[in-house]
Symmetry: C2
Subunit: 132 residues, 2 copies
């Protein structure tokens, strides 16, 4: 094999590897952000202890590895007709795609959270959305 031919093949291999990396990166950026936003209504909304117990449970839950980022919140002071501020705790999770959210649902840490904390709430509303 001539040096020129070897150089060509080497360059072609490099180009191919570079293309593969670029395609992989492109596929990664194409993953749609998945927002899993949960609102909790407590059985005893006046109980500071129950609210604290739920927040503590969510903090334990937040270590699930597929969670990209999370926010534990409570209703802001804003108050207009269109605003629902009747819930007690907001649990906003970001995932890098649907698969990570599906994995979170069956994660033992999540199952344990439901087991330990579900007695605290009377109602949960979930909005799952994916980036357009």
């Amino acid at each position: 094999m001539s040096i020129t031919r070897r150089t060509f093949l080497y360059q072609a291999a490099l180009l191919s590897a570079a293309t593969a990396v670029t395609q992989q990166a492109s596929a990664m950026t194409k993953e749609q952000t998945f927002i899993h936003h949960v609102y909790f209504w407590l059985n005893n909304p006046e109980s500071k202890e129950d609210k604290a117990a739920l927040i503590a449970g969510l903090k334990k839950l937040s270590v699930v590895k597929t969670i990209a980022s999370f926010h534990i919140g409570e209703p802001a002071p804003t108050n207009r007709d269109v605003i629902d501020r009747s819930y007690s705790v907001s649990w906003c999770l970001f995932f890098k795609g649907s698969d990570d959210q599906a994995s979170y649902q069956v994660d033992p840490i999540h199952l344990n959270f439901v087991k330990e904390c579900s007695h605290l709430w009377k109602k949960v509303v979930v909005y799952d959305s994916i980036d357009i």
Copy 2:
């Protein structure tokens, strides 16, 4: 004034400035993330044109300077009893504190969005939450 005295005053001024910067940074980190999550139900949920018009309006709206980050989404394919997937478009905004959200509400770009797009929806539900 002696050199020693001048040096002392200079160092005191530096220390004071450094303390002010540190306090400012501390106050900034204490600002609670404000999540303003809006769900839109369209008048004509089957109309691709109306959904596209709302999304285009939200993209125009997203340039408001006080918005820290935003996500335009649609219901994910997930479907369980607790999941509300009856809305058409999700508009999730992050602000660095309540003041930025209040500013957004009266921003001319926001007022113009409402003027141009409010005919598209029949119902809006807003959840405002601040980090605990």
